[in-house]
Symmetry: D2
């Protein structure tokens, strides 16, 4: 309860607190992931790291990640309504380090539902709204790839009616281990823009606290990745993170439970 | 080619014919199906059958079907862009018979993309536009059911911002065979509304011609099905098809190739 | 009534006929139009004309038209639910002639709702699905143009997550008369793709029958128009209709009642 | 600039700062408003007021407001892309008072674009995502009302595929002054949910700071308002704010410039 007679973990506050748009963590996630490892100009990547984070031992390592998620709160209630429980996501990851701890920085992310968008802002993850589509594997018929050698999966992101990114992966073999950038915590800046007179902007470096991580077998193969050039002005900086080379692609299912954040103290 | 210098299987016609919104059949489909067997008032069902079709040996047998599809033309090109290749569908089926052949009649169907909607009208399938959502099974984590006993999947249909139907299935065991109404051809009326002066309406009874049918193992279990009451006037007739009892639910993957239609001649 | 016990102007047929997705004409339309006159290569335009239509006296005259419509059936019922009554449209027009009658040919059109899309196919208008946005004039404040000199309005079309067309008009003065291509009937090909074995494609040249035409005062001015290059394969032919020069732009309100079609007999 | 080398008013931070999803205020708004005055149970309204706010001199006074907005930042850039500059909104208002100052409390609000949604949370306005539709007046034809006696305008809100609210207003006459609840500042709680261990929830009572207010002539008349009963659990508290009586409805254009907030200090 936030206030006498009016409560909620987030807005909207209401007498019972049940109107809160966000349920309090933990939040459980299960998803299907299409991921492409790639390399960016290391200086461009460094320019996207806040004070406190350094490029680490593999500067320029990056990844583009498409995901189709289901999520639910501790009580599982959202799963009864798939319209509420599902969302798509696309994000970029940059390898980085905090005092020797390997982390990943997410400079840009898009989702196609509002609850995960706002939940992202709470934790410092810069989620914006986009249209995200991703091939589903099939076990029968000719209108979907098998999870086996030669299976080909694609993903696309559009923002405000413009295609921003596309990726495709042709599966070759099961991998020995998950792609590294999907195994490290994410480092975010919780930003609270100033609103009142003389208010100072707040920007706090945090990492996500996650458990319950599960990976299905990971299939890897050849990959393609395009970040389009013809973008609106607010995405001009994104172009600096275009691939200078494209590595392996991966397809796997993944689960985690997100509990909150921890400060990365300087 | 339809006209000298202007061609296409469908509108839009263009010099190369490549602008046709519809590719010519065959069309391949692979999908995940959440289906609920139920029973309607046999008289209500009969009132939805056109001349030539009779209720057959199991009058009142009906089903509600949610599907998440991928489709592609003969050359597979659409699979490269999942935004183009995917759609969701919800439809009702009524058991019926034509001269001793077991068929299913689809009185109502909704899809969430325009190409399958128009393709439906070409073949006599009354597809309208709706929002369709369906649980995805998960192999990891707590935000999705397993395809195993106790796994629970749900589906929902909304039309013009109103919830029209919901279903849920709790899986119990693998079934010995697919649900019957998903194994018979569909009988449609190709309707061409009159547009020119003195033009007569056309209504032609046809059945779909399909091959390449594949079923994954079918899981069955307990089911719930709701058709909501508070609907706009154009859906008033739909209420007559509300369940008088609900039977088993099913979850399976399914594939077919649709080649065209055949006349059901009277 | 189409069949004993099952009726409707269009699919879906139902016992009362009320489930028909399309109401029978007449349909009333009131809309706000942002239009740009431009010129295309006359040979490219001619290649989009079917047999029976000729380029006429002004070959290469073309227009791009954004519209925000409300529509209703004869009884006005749809106006009670604005979600049902509104749609956006973008279309191209090419000047043409049939036996001396000035007409316009619409080679491509997009709408953002399914009922006008299917209604388009019934009359031979090649409507596809797109995202359409158009500036609204404002009478107060700084977030919208006035309908007066210097007022600037813009429109955009995206298809499957890609920007296809953009236009902008800066108003200069009230025009003496409406733009010509918005005053002539549209000539369409009603196309019925073949579905049954040995069925022949049908393509019938028709014109729209309209009355109740009203124009508000028309404001005209300088215009910009872009048809984007980076389009999917099915829109390759569209590029031939890109502007070779851009003329005046216009903004006005427009109404008509559409009653049906008439054959253009050869 | 928030951090050396990484800047932005909001997330996403980027080297140039241009990637910020939110531009800093001021933000200019111009919109068309369909508003219905109504009365709620005064105790129910009081239960939605946070400490510091009291019901004031007219307890139970409420309003339901549909709006179709255009917005732009100080430089006007967003107006060039109407897809970016437009959004729809539906909100409820409750009369209240802070130390004698008349204010309005917004317990629930929905918008149909993500930028105004996040901007709402920054200022303490509990915006969620909904589908919002509103009649547009017409100056020609039969598919839209005139702004004159007898003109009828409607609005609807759907959330996650369920109809939540509908309103309609039949215009009777021009009003002498704007509806009171649209003339007072809004009082919000800026809520920052806890994310780090031992973090306390923040909830700060603020009011919006606005200038440049303009009203077009206001038309008023008879009104209808429905808040639907069949809502998901998170909207259960909303039912307490259903109308016990419905007053006048209003249609007008409105503009304001939003500069930030001021603390309502207790």
């Amino acid at each position: 309860m936030i206030d006498q007679g009016l409560s909620g973990y987030s807005l909207p506050l209401s007498p019972s607190g049940r109107s809160s748009m966000l349920t309090p963590p933990p939040w459980h996630f299960s998803g299907d992931i299409l991921m492409v490892d790639y390399r960016v100009n290391p200086e461009a990547a460094a320019a996207f790291l806040p004070p406190g984070l350094s490029p680490g031992s593999d500067p320029g390592a990056a990844a583009a990640v498409f995901a189709q998620w289901q999520w639910t709160s501790a009580d599982g209630a959202e799963l009864a309504d798939p319209q509420r429980a599902q969302f798509g996501e696309f994000l970029l990851l940059l390898a980085c380090e905090f005092r020797g701890e390997q982390l990943a920085r997410c400079p840009y992310a898009w989702v196609d539902r509002s609850v995960p968008l706002v939940r992202g802002w709470l934790q410092g993850m810069p989620k914006q709204f986009g249209e995200i589509h991703q091939t589903r594997p099939a076990s029968v018929g000719r209108a979907g790839p098998r999870i086996s050698p030669g299976g080909r999966l694609a993903g696309s992101l559009s923002v405000l009616g413009r295609r921003v990114a596309e990726a495709a992966v042709t599966l070759r073999a099961e991998a020995a281990e998950p792609p590294r950038l999907h195994t490290v915590p994410l480092a975010h800046n919780r930003v609270i823009p100033p609103w009142l007179p003389d208010e100072k902007p707040v920007s706090e470096l945090v990492a996500s606290v996650v458990d319950g991580v599960e990976f299905s077998p990971v299939w890897s193969g050849d990959a393609e990745l395009t970040l389009f050039d013809d973008l609106p002005a607010d995405l001009a900086d994104l172009r600096a993170l275009a691939p200078i080379s494209v590595g392996q692609g991966h397809y796997f299912s993944y689960a985690e439970t997100l509990h909150g954040g921890r400060a990365l103290e300087s």
